[in-house]
Amino acid sequence: MINWRTALLPPALAIVFAMLLSSVALLISGANPLEAFATMGAQLFHGNTAVSTVNLAIVYYLAGLAAAVGFQMNVFNIGVEGQYRFAAVVAAIVGGWMQLPPVLHVIAILVVAVASGALYALLPALLKVYRGVSEVITTIMLNSIVFGIVAFLINPEQFGVLHGNNLSTEEIAPSGRIPGIPLGEAGTLFGFVVIAVALGYGYWFMLNRTRFGFELKASGESKTAAAAGGVSAKKMTLAAMLISGGVAGLVAMPELLGRDYVYAMTATQGYGFTGLAVALLGRNHPAGIAFGALLWAFLDRSAVSLESIGIPSEIATIMQGTIVLSVVVAYEIVRRADLAAEQRRVGRAGNGRPASVAEGGAV
């Protein structure tokens, strides 16, 4: 059973708290918080902001799903960042080089992306399972190394092409692109949204309706208990890391196949870290992650409008950081409050005498 109060109250509290805190920051810098929030809200109805927010949210959603798979198994895949960038550059190179009929071309690119994302997650996974190296450290190192790998691969001596002043990969032919959904004046929605929704459903189905998902969750809750039930924690860690890397491989695909068609040195970074935050915000639930992704994308897209009224747009980053921290704190506070309420209820049921075993008392 879902307890709506425990599920929805903490994020709401966190958002309110983040708004309060950023109001303080805004007041210190001499700006009017109400004006700032109103400007951010109004920006949503400006031109194509709404659609571009959703488009960005699709990317964040994929990154959130990738992180959430790891969280289920208690693996902190901080390497989503490196995995998606590695997959993006490899998929862009392979996709630009391939000549295939329309649908096949797209599928081939997606397969390459998933495989290379998983490949980049393989090293930390192997080191974690067989050498006991913390996946946090190795993935962070690989996140830095990916900068070098991207620069190396996009170099004209390898696979790069010079477009004006900008180095990028070869352009992907029209057969390898995913058409957008035109919404007239408001802009064009990424066609990838369909795949993202399907992935979200697949994630939910895998966790709640398959044996593998059950074993994954059980192993994440308690390795020893799961091992007693015949589930190998090593295998599950490896699987969680690889699936997480595979999903991470898709993160850059909406933009690559729906808008840019090339992967350039200047491509946006940082989606992986956003994915972690979004997964935390959504408590690893597919619908929650979608909400978190939309909120995050809204903050990113509408923060730009703040510059027009003379407020540094970095206030959005502060709000995002505050939201992550306060949402986890809020979950804890609500959990403690629920626990205390439960204890009071049990205490009342006893009418002053010690509760019997049937009422939840001690034996």
Partner: protein, 415 residues
């Protein structure tokens, strides 16, 4: 594979910590000087390299000390990165208005605030340590950028940069330095190498570097030789037992994490306030907090070990900066020599699998050295990161991690 009986081996042949450290240093210098002689790359042991290594190793050393304090009290601190970022802004701000020492104090203070935030989240509210760390990294970046736009942009005209700030004066042991310099120039085997490395460490040294190096024995003394340190470490091993003996676990964890933030902030300050480093610059921390954490883990959660880890990463970074791809290749050659020694040791101990792994690694490295004249220039800046992964892969299994690390602890709850 044969498993040695731990009770026998540990009691029979166990060198004291300082002796093993000295042995490692001798081996490292021996390998480096042999490699520099055989590959004809004097840069491997030049005073330039060791001086750059000291400068680049400092932030990592300080972050590692910060990590040591937090992790010994049982708190994982991924947030070191964010605390360092706060430290860079704080120190640039302080140094601009009040000189270097004010800058250093402000850097420490800003890092400390980040540490306190981590402590509130982790100790008081039982938030997952890594989650809180990630949030603090986000927050540290956001706050520093926001403040930089607000405070520095009107002065420097650029929201990503501070105006030029005061730097620490540097001191040289002139007489010693000159003598070592003369010795280095003679290019005698081993002797000149040692002289080169030492000369870099006694020339143009800032007070901050001395303080940072002194913090290593100081941390050892406080954490391992005082009552307070014993209590702090007991919080990281078994908080329930500590509490039952009357230790205030919450207080000790708070102190440890706040100190950890302070050291990280100092690390941030060392990026800004040293001669040769940039002023406050966006993204200048660039993962050094994480590398510091890795150096600490590599050093087996011990002060002497983390000094070695920081030296290794500082050296790898300094070498690629002053020598480029050819020097990194020579380092590969040195690694092959080191692996050969390790393989022999493993064979004597009859660890066949470990020896086989060593041979395979050496073969790969030698192949890289043999087939390439020049490494891809895009990948060379990431030498320290590669070194980190390789070193951790080789070393991680023999680590002794604080028992209760990352666990959530609430007073009165048993688990």
């Amino acid at each position: 594979m044969e498993k040695p009986d731990p009770t026998v081996t540990t009691s029979k042949r166990r060198l004291p910590g300082w002796a093993r450290g000295a042995l490692w240093a001798v081996v490292a210098i021996g390998v480096l000087s042999t490699a520099s002689y055989l590959t004809d790359m004097p840069i491997l042991t030049s005073s330039d390299t060791s001086q750059t290594a000291l400068r680049l190793g400092l932030p990592i050393l300080l972050a590692a000390i910060g990590g040591l304090w937090a992790e010994r009290a049982g708190v994982m601190n991924i947030g070191l990165e964010g605390m360092m970022i706060l430290g860079t802004w704080g120190s640039a701000w302080g140094a601009y208005y009040g000189g270097v020492w004010v800058g250093l104090a402000a850097g420490i203070l800003f890092g400390l605030l980040g540490g306190l935030l981590h402590a509130v989240a982790v100790v008081t509210f039982n938030v997952n340590h890594i989650v809180s760390g990630v949030a603090i990294n986000l927050l540290g970046l956001g706050v520093a950028q926001y403040l930089a736009t607000l405070v520095f942009e009107p002065i420097s005209g650029n929201p990503r940069e501070s105006p030029p700030v005061a730097k620490f004066d540097t001191y040289s042991a002139t007489f010693l330095s000159d003598w070592l310099g003369a010795l280095e120039d003679e290019q005698r085997v081993v002797l000149s190498d040692v002289a080169g490395l030492l000369r870099g460490l006694v020339t143009h040294v800032s007070p901050l570097a001395m303080i940072a190096l002194l913090l290593v024995p100081a941390s050892y003394f406080i954490l391992w030789r005082t009552r307070f340190g014993l209590r702090l470490r007991s919080c990281g091993e078994s908080p329930v037992a500590a509490e039952s003996l009357g230790v205030n676990v919450y207080l000790h964890k708070y102190i440890a994490v706040a100190a950890s933030g302070g050291f990280a902030g100092m690390g941030g300050a060392s990026l800004v306030l040293l001669e040769g480093g940039a002023d406050y610059l966006e993204n200048q921390v660039n993962g050094r907090g994480y590398i510091g954490l890795a150096a600490m883990i590599f050093g087996n959660y011990r002060p002497s070990g983390l000094l070695g880890g920081a030296a290794l990463f500082g050296y790898a970074d300094g070498l690629q900066l002053s020598g480029g791809g050819a020097a990194v290749l020579a380092l590969c050659y040195g690694a092959v020599l080191l692996l050969a020694i390790i393989v022999v040791l493993q064979l004597i101990r009859r660890h066949w699998w470990a020896a086989a792994g060593g041979v395979a690694g050496a073969a790969v490295l030698y192949w890289i050295y043999w087939t390439n004249d020049e490494l891809p220039s895009d990948l060379i800046p990431y030498t320290p990161h590669f070194v980190t992964i390789i070193v951790l892969a080789v070393a991680a299994q023999r680590l002794r991690v604080p028992k209760a690390i990352g666990q959530q602890y609430r007073r009165g709850e048993d688990t």
